[in-house]
């Protein structure tokens, strides 16, 4: 288990250190040394929080590339969903037919599931209500949005990520 965490720990260390440097807003030796020490402390103190390889994809360049692609799709989804919500809310008759649906989800790793759930929340007309090992309970404003979830682009992206 420790073995699987090492790579994630290094990744977290880099992220945290970048965070520190952005906060510190100046690059001098002292700031870097103190930052390294603080970051090391935080990583070691929070070692039980780090994702092991069973829980998250490995962080490689392929991962970065694929997640960038995912970002683009997600941004598009967010904008579309916002426009739709605006249309629904501002139309006087409030045309919604809310309902629940349970859909299958193929993902195994916790982190990917999490982001998948959050992506569903942000994409048009759907809201993750329950996320379990096998399936997701989704609330939809209209049935057609729920239908669009199966075999969606985002799902394909996540399955790609899962394979890494």
């Amino acid at each position: 288990m420790q073995q699987g965490k090492k790579r994630s720990a290094v990744f977290l260390f880099i992220l945290l250190f970048a965070f520190w440097m952005i906060l510190a807003a100046d690059i001098d030796a002292l700031s870097i040394i103190v930052g390294l020490m603080a970051t090391l402390f935080v990583v070691l103190y929070g070692f039980d929080l780090i994702f092991s390889s069973q829980e998250a994809s490995r962080f490689t360049f392929g991962f970065l590339f694929k997640s960038l692609k995912l970002m683009v799709i997600l941004l598009k989804g967010i904008i579309i969903s916002n426009l739709q919500v605006a249309k629904i809310v501002l139309s006087p008759s409030l045309p919604i037919k809310p309902g629940f649906r349970t859909i299958k989800q193929p993902l195994k790793k916790d982190l990917n599931r999490t982001f998948y759930g959050n992506s569903i929340t942000l994409t048009p007309g759907t809201l993750t209500v329950k996320l379990t090992d096998k399936d997701i309970i989704v609330h939809g404003l209209e049935p057609e949005y729920l239908d669009a979830l199966n075999e969606s682009d985002i799902q394909k992206c996540f399955i790609d990520l899962e394979r890494l």
Binding site: L12, L16, F19, W20, L23, A24, D28, L30, S31, V34, A38, T39, F41, V42, V43, Y45, G46, D48, L49, I50, F51, E55, D110, L111, R113, T114, G117, N118, T128, L131
Partner: protein
């Protein structure tokens, strides 16, 4: 709590909150913030941990013994730095007169004893907030 989404997001966020708390404690003399706000932020991250993972696990991470030492220790750091002033400058809690190097204004190592006192206060506040929360939410178990 066994909600995967909340749990994972918490696991991502907590280290950042902690680092931010430490940052605020250490930069108290060059930017807004300081021991209280930073300590409270660090404490909040551990409170979040308690809320998500339960009291038992959180107490393993931050045990009674550690909190006792941190509480007395935070003030003892403060006191011992103050006592240095009595011997060198003749007044309790003297800074410049006691010979603390003031350093270059605006850098991390400046202000003499100010960052050291801030660290003491930060440790104290963080540990207090966490322990208070644990004590308040714990049911009486024998």
């Amino acid at each position: 709590m066994d909600d995967i989404i909340v749990k994972s997001i918490t696991r991502i966020i907590i280290p950042f909150v902690q680092l931010y708390g430490i940052f605020i404690i250490l930069h108290g003399h060059v930017s807004p913030g300081g021991g209280f706000s930073g300590g409270a932020l660090f404490g909040t991250s551990l409170i979040l941990y308690t809320l998500i993972f339960g009291v038992d696990k959180a107490q393993k991470k931050f045990s009674h013994r550690v909190s006792e030492i941190a509480e007395s220790g935070g003030i003892l750091i403060y006191l011992s730095i103050g006592v240095i002033g009595i011997f060198t400058a003749g007044y309790f809690l003297s800074n410049k007169a006691a010979g603390f190097p003031l350093g270059e204004a605006g850098s991390l190592l400046s202000g003499g004893m100010i960052p050291l006192l801030m660290i003491g206060v930060g440790i104290k506040v963080a540990s207090t907030m966490v322990t208070l929360f644990h004590t308040l939410i714990m049911e009486e178990r024998l």
